[in-house]
């Protein structure tokens, strides 16, 4: 077996795992109902054995709906944020590979200033100025992506620098390669890919965690979330249900906590596996 074959065999399970997790999350988002079903007191705090697959909340409503609605709230904006970071990281790498030092320098300077502030502070400022009837995750996800972008661009630029930067491109030109082949295949697909894909996966994960955190904090104070309308549930609702089980003995919602943590686990595994699948040989 050649070296390339061996690395492909190693990366394949990670790629399949990442794709499986992503498909699961997208399927959950697509399955999400517009509204939760009616209250059913008979199934109050039903365990998964009594109401498969995940049990019920205090009103007897299946936690499956919490999981799917939470996916609907978070997954697509998170993927969009990941894509934005990916595109900007590729631009950062290409600028370094093209040897456009002046533009590269300006972007680095801008990145230093943008990156000098804690991201959550900026996100909360944006959340503050969003109209109440436009409370969705996407603007906050895009803000997070723009704040994460300088780091990703910097890392991609460092990869292009190690590659030889403009000299690498010149060398390939001397071999008669076309510009699209040089930049799209040799620079982006073969060399920037590991960094760009990992950054995309990390930002996707971070945005989902951001949604959970913002929703949980609003929920804990009985306030509307910045990230979704009141008619939808977030995965933070599962954590909140589970938290009451941790603190109060008489509330049997451990199954909600287990489901919330499992969903977070799926997102983390997706990010980790995506990074591994895109790893350089």
């Amino acid at each position: 077996m050649s070296r390339g074959d061996a690395s492909q065999v190693n990366r394949l399970p990670a790629g399949m795992l990442a794709a499986g997790c992503l498909l699961l999350l997208l399927a959950a988002a697509a399955m999400a109902p517009e509204h939760l079903p009616d209250v059913n007191p008979d199934l109050r705090y039903a365990q998964p054995s009594a109401l498969p697959p995940f049990g019920a909340d205090a009103a007897g409503r299946s936690l499956l709906h919490y999981a799917t609605q939470g996916a609907r709230v978070a997954v697509v904006p998170a993927i969009v944020a990941g894509l934005v970071v990916g595109v900007l990281a590729v631009i950062g790498g290409l600028l370094r590979a093209m040897g456009l030092r002046r533009i590269d320098g300006w972007i680095q300077g801008l990145g230093e200033i943008v990156g000098a502030l804690p991201r959550m502070v900026v996100v909360l400022v944006i959340a503050l100025i969003l109209p109440r009837d436009a409370r969705v995750l996407l603007p906050l996800a895009l803000t997070w992506a723009l704040l994460a972008a300088p780091g990703a661009m910097d890392e991609a630029a460092a990869v292009a620098e190690r590659l030889g930067g403009a000299r690498f491109v010149e060398a390939l030109r001397a071999h008669g390669y076309s510009a699209p082949r040089i930049f799209l295949v040799h620079v982006v697909a073969l060399n920037l890919r590991p960094v760009v894909v990992r950054q995309m996966a990390e930002v996707t994960m971070q945005v989902i965690f951001l949604e959970i955190a913002l929703s949980y904090l609003a929920l804990a104070q009985d306030q509307p979330s910045f990230t979704h309308p009141d008619s939808l549930k977030s995965w933070a609702d599962l954590l909140n249900l589970g938290y009451t089980w941790l603190v109060f003995d008489d509330v049997q919602t451990g199954h909600a906590l287990a489901l919330g943590v499992a969903l977070i686990g799926i997102v983390s595994v997706m990010a980790l596996a995506t990074g591994r699948a895109a790893r350089a040989r």
């Binding site: 300077g109 230093e112 200033i113 990156g115 000098a116 502030l117 804690p118 991201r119 959550m120 502070v121 909360l124 400022v125 944006i126 959340a127 503050l128 100025i129 109209p131 109440r132 780091g151 994960m205 965690f209 959970i212 955190a213 949980y216 904090l217 609003a218 804990a220 104070q221 306030q223 910045f226 933070a236 954590l239 938290y243 941790l246 603190v247 943590v261 977070i264 983390s268 990010a271 980790l272």
Partner: protein, 307 residues
């Protein structure tokens, strides 16, 4: 080649600019949105007569008038009053009470991070443990903070905020900040990676042959990059502090910012965000000073070379 002082000078410049730029940008953002700023900050259905409020909050004469008035007062130590969160309360008092708590929280959170960096520098954690570290690093702050809050509230009660309970909340918060979101694992692997690549330099081998120790030779060269990593992690922890303080109900700057945003209290958010900008400036100054000290150190002739 770029002069050695350019980077630290840019950082100092950014540090001076940040506490002014942040409130200015927030103010301009409010005016850039379509609609009346007073209505955006406090919708008429919640606040009633916006014209009177606009006059009271100095929103009626444009963004620069508002900003110059707010900044002029802020420079004299008056950050105005809370508009909605704790209506009428002095924001200066709220910020003065919150900042020390956040600083204590951050200082304590630096302990696990510093330990991780030391372990990484000494190569004390084998690379085989990296997958474990990576998995631990994936745990988000919200999950660890919830677990920590549960432990504190089970032991001290849900409404315990003073004395020992307050310190338990702060210590638990610091532990969460130091471990969650990849801070600990990043500090181990990041520091180890830096030292490992520096150890491969030729001068290190020569220094060992001369009977010198490795660390005093490599440290000055890795210190600027280490300071950069440290600042990035501290910024990350400041971001996490908002979540940790709000979940653990620690009365710090993050909790204040969160409540300001939640209650759409522009007065509180403006002051809290400026407070965070001040802390970020402090980090920039520390990084710049490290770079200056290293530059001064490496420009002195090393003892032994000229003897």
């Amino acid at each position: 080649m770029r002069q050695w002082w350019v980077r630290p000078a840019v950082r100092i410049g950014a540090a001076l600019l940040l506490p002014f730029a942040v409130p200015l940008i927030i103010t301009l953002l409010i005016w850039a949105l379509p609609g009346d700023p007073a209505s955006i900050i406090c919708p008429p259905e919640s606040c009633g007569g916006t014209a009177a409020l606009a006059e009271r909050w100095h929103l009626d004469a444009g963004p620069m008038s508002f900003f110059s008035h707010w900044m002029g007062q802020a420079l004299q130590g008056d950050l105005g009053e809370s508009w909605r969160f704790l209506q009428g309360e002095s924001v200066s008092v709220l910020v003065r009470e919150a900042v020390p708590t956040t600083l204590i929280l951050m200082a304590l959170a630096l302990l696990p991070m510093g330990l991780a960096s030391a372990l990484g520098a000494k190569n004390a954690i084998p690379e085989k443990a990296d997958p474990v570290l990576q998995v631990v690093g994936l745990v988000p702050a919200i999950v660890l903070a919830l677990a920590a809050a549960a432990v504190v509230e089970v032991n001290y009660g849900t409404m315990s905020f003073a004395g020992e309970a307050r310190w338990a909340r702060i210590l638990a918060g610091a532990a969460v900040l130091g471990l969650a979101d990849g801070v600990f694992s990043g500090a181990v692997t990041g520091t180890r990676g830096l030292f490992r690549s520096e150890d491969q330099q030729r001068y290190v081998g020569i220094a060992i042959l001369r009977g010198e120790r490795k660390l005093p030779n490599t440290l000055p060269n890795v210190a600027p990059a280490l300071a950069g990593q440290l600042r990035a992690r501290c910024l990350h922890m400041l971001s996490g502090a908002v979540v940790v303080e709000a979940v653990l109900r620690i009365d710090g700057l993050g909790d204040l910012l969160w409540n300001g945003a939640l209650w759409q209290d522009f007065g509180v958010v403006l002051a809290a965000a400026t407070g965070f900008a001040g802390l970020s400036s402090l980090l920039l100054v520390v990084q710049a000073l490290t770079e200056v000290l290293v530059a001064v150190h490496v420009r002195r002739a090393p003892a032994g070379v000229l003897s």
